[in-house]
C-alpha cells in the first residue's frame, strides 16, 4: 500500500491498486474494528460504524460526508432509510439516533431502555424504526420518534431483527429459543418457532416467503412463513454469522465454515431434500456474504483475509481473489452494483470499483 494521506475528517486514505474485475479506489481507516458497512439506497454514501468511536459516512470518492459521534459503551448497527439519505445509528447507550445527512446532528434521538442494544432496522416503507434493547423490540414512528409498539415475548436478549420486505408491519426477531414473527397491532407473535437453541441472526427473504436464522449451534433454520413450516439445516462447522439472498429469494447463501453453501429456496419445498451448491476457496471461516443486487454475482469475505467473487451458476471456482492484510469483517455491494466496500479487522474500509466491461451479469 502506498500514498497514505489524511483526509482531515477522522479517516486516513490510501490510494489504489488495480485488478481486472475490481479496481481498488481508496482505503479509509476507522478508529476501531469495523462492525459493518451499509450503503445508502442511492449508492452515493457508505456508512461505516467501528466498534467504538466515530461513525463515518463516506462518499464514493472516499471523502468523509459526516463523522458522527459514537455511542458510549460501543456502537451497534446502522441502517439507512429505504428511500432517502437518513441514517439511524444505535449502540450500547440505548439511544437511537436518526441523522438527515449530510447534517451531523441528529434530527431525532430516542432513548430506549438500558440493556444490550445493537440492532436497528427501518421497515420497507420507511415509516417505522425497530431497535432491540434487552428482551424487547421497540418500534418507533420514524416521523415523531414516538414508541408505538413494544414486542416482549422473548425469553432472553433479542439478538437480531428483520422486517418483512413485502409487508411493512411484519417483523421477525430472534433470541435464545428461536424466532418470533410479529404483526404490529397483534398482542402475540403470529409465528412462534422455539427450537430449543439460540438463534443469532435473522434475515427475511426479499419475496417475503422465508425467514432464516443463523444459530449458535452450527445450523440454519428456515421458516416457510406461508406454510408455518420450519426446516433445520445442520452440518456447519461454526455458528452461522452471515446469510445473503440472491435476487428476490431464489437462493440463500450461508457461511458457517470455510466453504459457502447456497440453498435453493424456490419450489414448494424450498431447500428441503435439495442439493446445495458449495463453494470452496476460503481457508478460514466465511463471515461476510453479499450478492450484487439483482444479480447472482456473490462476494464473500473470510477470516483468512480473502475476498472472493463468485458466479456460482457458471462455476464453483472463484472469479477473483482479493487479499487483505487481516480478516474481513464486512463486504457490501453498492445497490447499483458498481462498487464493493470491504472492511477488515485492522480498521480499514476499502472501496473497490467494478470494472463495467469485465463485470458479467448472468
Amino acid at each position: 500500500m502506498s500514498g497514505v494521506d489524511t483526509n482531515g475528517k477522522g479517516g486516513r486514505v490510501t490510494m489504489p491498486s488495480a485488478s481486472r474485475l475490481l479496481a481498488e479506489a481508496w482505503t479509509v481507516e476507522l478508529e476501531d474494528y469495523p462492525l459493518d458497512l451499509r450503503w445508502s439506497v442511492d449508492s452515493r454514501w457508505l456508512a461505516a460504524p467501528p466498534s467504538h468511536g466515530r461513525i463515518l459516512v463516506l462518499d464514493r470518492e472516499g471523502g468523509v460526508v459526516a463523522s458522527l459521534p459514537g455511542h458510549p459503551g460501543g456502537n451497534g448497527g446502522v441502517a439507512w432509510h429505504p428511500q432517502r439519505a437518513a441514517l439511524a445509528t444505535y449502540g450500547q447507550d440505548a439511544r437511537l439516533r436518526v441523522y438527515e445527512l449530510p447534517a451531523a446532528t441528529p434530527a431525532l434521538e430516542i432513548p430506549l431502555e438500558k440493556a444490550w442494544a445493537d440492532r436497528v432496522a427501518w421497515n420497507s416503507d420507511g415509516t417505522l424504526l425497530a431497535a432491540c434493547a434487552g428482551r424487547t423490540v421497540f418500534i418507533a414512528a420514524a416521523a415523531s420518534g414516538a414508541i408505538e409498539h413494544r414486542l416482549s415475548d422473548h425469553k432472553s436478549t433479542v439478538c437480531d431483527i428483520a422486517w418483512n420486505p413485502q409487508r411493512p408491519r411484519e417483523i421477525a426477531s430472534v433470541c435464545d429459543g428461536g424466532a418470533r414473527l410479529w404483526r404490529l397491532g397483534e398482542a402475540r407473535p403470529f409465528g412462534h418457532f422455539d427450537w430449543g437453541g439460540a438463534s443469532l441472526i435473522v434475515t427475511w427473504s426479499p419475496n417475503g416467503r422465508w425467514v432464516v436464522t443463523g444459530d449458535q449451534t452450527p445450523s440454519v433454520h428456515l421458516y416457510d412463513v406461508g406454510r408455518s413450516h420450519p426446516l433445520h439445516i445442520q452440518g456447519y462447522e461454526h455458528k452461522v454469522k452471515t446469510l445473503a439472498w440472491e435476487g428476490d429469494g431464489a437462493w440463500l447463501g450461508s457461511g458457517g465454515s470455510a466453504s459457502i453453501t447456497l440453498w435453493p429456496c424456490t419450489g414448494k419445498k424450498g431447500p428441503e431434500g435439495a442439493k446445495p451448491i458449495q463453494l470452496f476457496g476460503h481457508l478460514k471461516e466465511v463471515v461476510a456474504l453479499d450478492f450484487v443486487p439483482g444479480s447472482s454475482v456473490l462476494a464473500s469475505g473470510g477470516r483468512d483475509g480473502l475476498v472472493l467473487l463468485w458466479m456460482p451458476h457458471r462455476s464453483t471456482d472463484p472469479a477473483l481473489i482479493v487479499q487483505r492484510r487481516t480478516e474481513i469483517t464486512a463486504a457490501r455491494w453498492a445497490p447499483d452494483g458498481g462498487a464493493l466496500a470491504i472492511a477488515t479487522a485492522d480498521g480499514d474500509v476499502t472501496l473497490c470499483l467494478m470494472n463495467p466491461s469485465a463485470a458479467a451479469k448472468p
Binding site: G73, Q92, T157, C159, G197, A198, H238
Partner: protein
Amino acid sequence: MNKLHRTPVTVLTGFLGAGKTTLMNRVLTEQHGRRIAVIENEFGEIGIDHELVINADEEIFEMNNGCICCTVRGDLIRIMASLMKRRDQFDHILIETTGLADPGPVVQTFFVDDDMKEKLCVNAVVTVVDAKHIWQHIDDADEAREQIAFADVILLNKCDLVATADLDRLEARIKAMNGVAKIYRTTNAEIDIPRILDVGGFNLEHAIGMDPKFLEPEYPFEWGGIFQVPAGTATLVATRNPDPSMKLVLLPVGSGTDDALAQAREQAVRNFSSLEVKAAAPGTVISCDGRLHEMLLGEGAMRWPLHIPEPGCYAAFTEHYPDELGLKMMVAEREVTAVCAAAYKPDHEHDEKVTSVGIEEAADCDGKKLNAWLSALLRDKGTDIFRMKGVFAVRGNPNRTIFQGVHMLLDAQGGGPWGERPRRNSLVFIGRNLDRDQLNASFRECLA
C-alpha cells in the same frame, strides 16, 4: 490465534455475601500493572481509570436442547465478542457471577463457543467462601457446592470471624470436595492479586505441589485431638445428632504433641477397621483403651461417661468433626479443650454429592486408549463430572499432554517437554457420585 496468546479469563464465584465484590474492588483499585476488563452482573458500562467494567445479565443459551453440558452464557458470548473487537485490548478479563450462578455454563462458554475458544482461555475459577456462614449452605445449596467444586482457587474469607479449629474443619471439608483447589485464608478478601490472576489455568502439577494432602491417604475419621485429663471420670457431651451414630476411638498417648497424635493416628486407623464395634447409647461408659465405639445419638443433651484409668494424655479420633455434634470433653462440668488436633481427609462419603478423586500413575499410557477412555467417561458420566484435569505421559510423546474437561467437554493442549522431570500421569476428577475404585481401575487399563 495461538493458544498461548489467548487472553486469560478469571471467573469469580461465591455465595451471596461471601466477599466477591470486595475482592473485585481490590482487583480494580490496586496497582497490579495490567489492564483488566470486569464483567459484572447488572447492565451498563463504567470505565475506571484503565479498567473497564461491563455489566451482564446471566443469560443461558442452550446449545443442544437443554443438555446441561452444552449450556453456555449467551450474554458472555455477546460481551466477549464485543470486547474482542476493541482495538485497545485488555490483559485480563474478570467475570463476576451472581451468588446463585452456576459456574458450569460460564466455564463451558469458553470451551464451546468458536470465537471464545480461539481468543480467550479460562485462567482460573476463583471462589470466595464466607467462612462463617458457609455451613448454612454447604449441605443444602447446590450452587454453593458447585462453586467450590469448580474452583481452582478458594478464598476462605471472613476468617477474622471464625476460630482456627473451625477453619481447619472447613478447609478439610472443602478439600474433600475439591482436592485440587489452592485455598487461601483471608479477611476482607485481602490477598496478593497475582495469587488469583496468575493461576495459569488448570495447572495440576502446581496444585499437587502446593497441596501435599491432595494424594495423601484417606482416613476413616475426620478429626483427632489429644486431651490432657486427670484420672477418674470425664464425660463426653453431645447436643446434636446429624447422623444416628458416630464412631469413636479413645486411646492413651505419651504426650500432647503432634508427633504423638500422628503415631496414635495409625493405631486408630487399624482400630476403626475392626469388626468389633461397641454400641454406646447415652449413659454407657466408654473406655479409653483403643476400642472402637459407636455412639448412638438421640435427642437433647447426651452424655457418655469416660473411664480414665490414670492421669495423662488421651487421643480421641472421631468419625465426624466434634462441632457437628456439639461434642465436648467435660471434666468436673468444665470443658477441656484439645492440646493439639488435626483434621483428616475422610474416606467415607461425607458429602456423597461432591468429591474429588485423584489418580497418579508413573507408567506411560497409551494415547489411543487414553482418548477412548476419556471420551467414553465424559460421555457417560459427564453430567456428574464438574471438572477434570490431567497431565499425561503418553508413550512415544516427549511432551506432556494436558487435558482439561468441563462436564462432557474436553480440551487437549501440549504441555511442553518432560525434560528432567519423571514421566507420570496425574489426573483429578471433581464431581458427584464418583467411584474412586472404578476410576482408578479403568485408568490403569490405559497404561501402555
